[in-house]
Symmetry: C2
Subunit: 199 residues, 2 copies
């Protein structure tokens, strides 16, 4: 049987993160029934974004301009660099509103299992940027996973080999109990870390 | 601050059923990062559906043709009519593959609270269709909610007033324990109904 446009639509939605066939069907139906109110604005927004969004050549962020708003902002500190794995991590840190330095997006973390080495990530541009910049502190804001921490280790080693690299302050995010987190839902590793880092 | 195209995109996604700001952000980012593989197919599918989908003037279903594939299918029984509240209910019954008659979509159920009376629903067309057709059985496949059952009551009364209406077999879906359902997760009403209808 040939796939109808409706089937294609449901399949396209079902492939998005967090959606399955059931939620995709529900969304497709909602769009078809509310063509004016839901489908057209969504189509317009997608067309506009697809046309206007650029990848920032400095940090790798997505924005309407290249360099992105963060890289262009003269009010941000030029001596503070936050290294994140992906764009969503940058957005997450930005939402806190507490960090006022620059970013560098790695594009992932090292993973022997997935065959991701330093060449697949934005490691060379990072080293180049740190070498040419005036950073005094590099925050490695990577996930508290084995791969994330291995990547942080690796980056620390590489950053230290740069001229003057040993003077760089290389920091990581603190580990501990998430704010609002119930102790009995947390894994032992987090509780152990939080206990050891108590203050 | 002016809303950027990216903000509009996230807002459009967040308004879809089952999605919130967090999942919308995740989807928007996925689409932007995978423009070729995810965004373009989705935009194409939406444009194609928006262009080609019609509302069937007989049953109210959405399809590429009017009348829809179900209404046009000569292999389906012309004496069996299944009345459902919405398009998603029609799809749900169709997925079972067990029903081989025709459909009528009401467009909702009666609701005093939401101010939905018979005039807001496709009740008159239903009566017209039954009067002009050769239906021997009408299945009222409405939700097992107060509003759904009130609607079924109302439709039964109205259908009985039709010429020859008292000869119509008017049936409803059986109530009971959902297949695969755990007893201890079910409400008392369902268990009571299932017990009374035991066989």
């Amino acid at each position: 049987m040939k796939e109808t446009p409706l089937d294609s639509l449901i399949r396209a939605f079902a492939g998005l993160p967090g959606l399955g066939p059931r939620s995709a069907r529900r969304i497709a139906l909602h769009l078809l029934v509310n063509r004016e109110r839901a489908m057209n604005p969504l189509m317009q927004a997608m067309a506009q974004t697809a046309e206007n969004i650029r990848t920032c050549h400095i940090c790798g962020n997505l924005d309407l301009t290249d360099p992105c708003a963060v890289c262009r902002d003269p009010a941000r500190a030029d001596d503070l660099l936050c290294v994140v794995a992906g764009i969503s991590d940058l957005w997450a840190v930005e939402r806190t509103g507490i960090f006022k330095g620059r970013y560098h997006i790695l594009g992932g973390v090292l993973s022997a299992l997935d065959g991701i080495g330093p060449d697949q990530l934005s490691v060379a541009p990072l080293l180049e940027r740190v070498r040419g910049g005036a950073f005094s502190e590099i925050i490695l804001a990577l996930a508290a996973t084995v791969d994330g921490q291995a990547t942080a280790h690796y980056l620390t080693d590489r950053l230290h080999t740069l001229p003057g690299g040993t003077d760089l302050r290389i920091t990581r995010l603190a580990h501990g109990v998430p704010v609002g987190g119930q102790l009995d839902y947390l894994d032992d590793g987090t509780i152990t870390t939080a206990l050891k880092a108590r203050k």
